[in-house]
């Protein structure tokens, strides 16, 4: 019984999902209060677990509730509440509202389990439960675009799940254990003979998780699904699902690999550094050419995943605040992206278009939405005083700090026969501080991203609107975007509480 108390927040959401589906089948009824009630209870329960302060394990160590999982539980529950409140207009107008609510709850519940799971079997089951629910959600509008998005998401998702599993099989084969602690014990023994096999297994695992995080080269689904899926679902994917993906990567890396001290940490650092640079560059360059706001946000989310992956590389290179940087970034990104998506939802439903050019003159038709959307775009770019600016500074700073702390030494200079000493030294210096290079790429990318984010903002503010009628938005949606905007400004001006929470959560991994 005690085991079930430990996973109670996830259990509440999964049970509520069943109840909602049952009620929806048996006839019309009010579902929204049940859904929101379940989410609030789960959130409060998770907070209470966090306030208790002690770590709890359940099911033979397969589930572990600590400050880290509580941080993500609160983040995911809050994001789900915001998505449901912000999208209630659309959801309530659908015949499938029961399915939307039920699947969203199931997916969120499984995400909570995913952030708590400490065992390969648990990780796999939780990951697939969130994914399968999301596949259906992406196709739930049942029109040509939505069903195409659902099918593409499902095919890429199942291929990457199979790749992940193959990696798990080899981790299990090498270490003889499915628990992350067991794998950590094997890695800590540093078997030089198992190094290649271990890297192979972890590369497969990274490919599987890369799909969830939407980093290049496992990103191909993101733009299509973001564009084709209903905006409510897109916002859920871009915030909650991405956070859960990064959460499990951090946990597997810290607990399963022993963090930055592991003997293959450098390989991981380089892998994530390269993937981060690729994601940022590809995402931003592709976003430059987009005319559809949802597709633009899809590419932007790939680029942002690259930013967060810089933090993963910093963690692997031995940074002490890389993990909290990732958590802080995810927190600010949730507020920013939710604000942007709820604005897009409200506007697109009224103007009947997702094209950027149809956002022209939005500032005159709805100053409130246009203002908050602009604020969110500034935060996505990383312009002070918004939260996005601090998040980027924090994460890049951790990478620079790690590049100094790294014990990685280069012998490339010594191999350059005949080169002048200063060239050899320069090469060595650059190679040893390659994380700084990744940060340079990231900063250049911020400049690229400013172009398309601010172009969109300019269209909204300066261009002539096609018609001048004001857009009427219900109070609930206005409230959600106001809270998101408040979060963006608050985390930008007074980030200390969130940073403290992130550091506390990251410390629980050690």
């Amino acid at each position: 019984m005690a085991d079930f108390v430990v996973i109670a927040p996830a259990l509440i959401l999964l049970l509520a999902s069943g109840v909602v589906l049952f009620v929806a089948i048996s006839g019309p009824g009010t579902l929204r209060p049940v859904v929101l009630g379940a989410l609030v209870i789960a959130g409060v329960f998770a907070l209470a677990q966090g306030a208790g302060g002690q770590n709890a394990e359940a099911f033979g160590g397969a589930v572990r509730v600590d400050a880290f999982s509580v941080f993500f539980a609160v983040l995911i529950v809050a994001a789900t509440i915001a998505v449901i409140l912000g999208g209630s207009e659309w959801i309530e107008s659908r015949a499938q509202r029961g399915e939307v609510y039920g699947l969203m709850l199931a997916s969120a519940g499984a995400m909570l389990l995913l952030t708590q799971s400490n065992d390969l079997i648990m990780i796999f089951v939780a990951l697939e439960t969130t994914s399968i629910a999301q596949f259906i959600l992406a196709g739930i509008a049942r029109d040509a675009r939505s069903s195409e998005a659902g099918l593409k998401y499902l095919l890429t998702g199942s291929v990457s799940a199979a790749v992940l599993l193959y990696g798990f099989a080899f981790l299990f084969g090498l270490s003889g254990s499915t628990s992350l602690q067991g794998i950590a014990a094997y890695v800590a023994a540093a078997p030089e003979g198992g190094r290649l096999a271990l890297l192979f297994a972890f590369a497969l695992v990274a490919a599987g998780f890369g799909f969830k995080m939407a980093i290049v080269p496992f990103h191909a689904w993101a733009p299509d699904v973001y564009q084709g899926a209903p905006t409510v679902v897109t916002s859920f994917l871009s915030v909650a699902s991405k956070a859960a993906g990064f959460a499990i990567v951090l946990r597997v890396f810290y607990v399963g690999l022993g963090g930055g001290d592991s003997y293959i940490a450098n390989d991981w650092a380089i892998m994530f550094g390269v993937l981060a640079a690729l994601s940022m560059t590809f995402g931003n360059l592709a976003a430059l050419m987009q005319t559809d706001v949802k597709r633009l946000l899809g590419y932007s989310s790939i680029a942002q995943a690259g930013n967060i992956a810089v933090g993963l590389a910093a963690v692997a290179a031995g940074s002490t605040n890389g993990a909290s940087g990732v958590l802080f970034f995810l927190g600010t990104y949730a507020a920013t992206n939710l604000g942007a998506f709820v604005c897009v939802m409200a506007v697109s439903q009224r103007i009947g278009s997702d094209q950027i050019r149809d956002y022209a003159g939005l500032a005159r038709r709805s100053p409130w939405l246009a203002g908050i959307l602009t604020l969110c775009l500034l935060s996505l770019t990383g312009i002070p005083p918004t939260a996005g600016f601090l998040a980027k500074i924090y994460i890049f700073n951790s990478a620079i700090q790690a590049s100094g702390a790294s014990e990685f030494t280069s012998n490339l200079g010594a191999q350059m026969v005949g080169a002048p000493p200063f060239v050899a030294n320069l090469v060595d210096g650059v190679v040893e501080r390659w994380l700084v290079l990744v940060v340079v790429v990231a900063v250049l990318n911020t400049a690229i991203s400013a172009f398309y984010y601010l172009r969109w903002a300019r269209t909204m503010i300066l261009d002539e609107p096609p018609e001048t009628s004001a857009l009427r938005v219900p109070a609930g949606v206005q409230g959600v975007v106001a809270v998101a905007a408040f979060g963006v400004v608050l985390f930008g001006l007074a980030p200390t509480p969130l940073i403290t929470a992130a550091q506390h959560a990251a410390a629980a991994l050690h």
Binding site: I121, F135, E148, L151, K152, L154, Y166, F168, G182, P223
Partner: protein
């Protein structure tokens, strides 16, 4: 030759199972990446999952378990994989039927409303 001498050649051991599993996985991923029909891609995924199952079973049979690992952890994993794969296949086929009704094709090259 005695049986003991011939045993490595007759009785399959871990390398044999892993080689088979690797082949099946490679075939599966090639099918999944190269076929343009959604149903064929799903068949490739099934092959990949079965290759994984085979690897898990071989590892459980031949590799000594680490201290504290429940017995048959690999077998339990396989049962979960089978279950999840069935759930995934059910959703996938439903989705394929839905797409076919809307577009009269499940050819991934012709599902190009969402592009660039």
């Amino acid at each position: 030759m005695t049986f003991e001498e011939l045993k490595p050649f007759i009785v399959p051991g871990l390398p044999h199972y892993l080689a088979l599993s690797g082949q099946v996985f490679a075939i599966g991923i090639l099918i999944a990446l190269s076929k343009r029909n959604a149903i064929a891609v799903l068949m490739g995924v099934e092959l990949m999952l079965n290759a994984t199952n085979l690897a898990f079973l071989a590892f459980t049979r031949f590799v000594p378990q680490a201290q504290g690992t429940p017995a048959l952890a690999g077998h339990v994993f396989v049962v979960f994989i089978l279950t999840v794969a069935a759930a995934e296949a059910a959703v996938a086929l439903a989705m394929a039927v839905l797409v076919y009704r809307r577009r009269e094709t499940v050819d991934l090259d012709r599902l190009n409303l969402l592009r660039w």
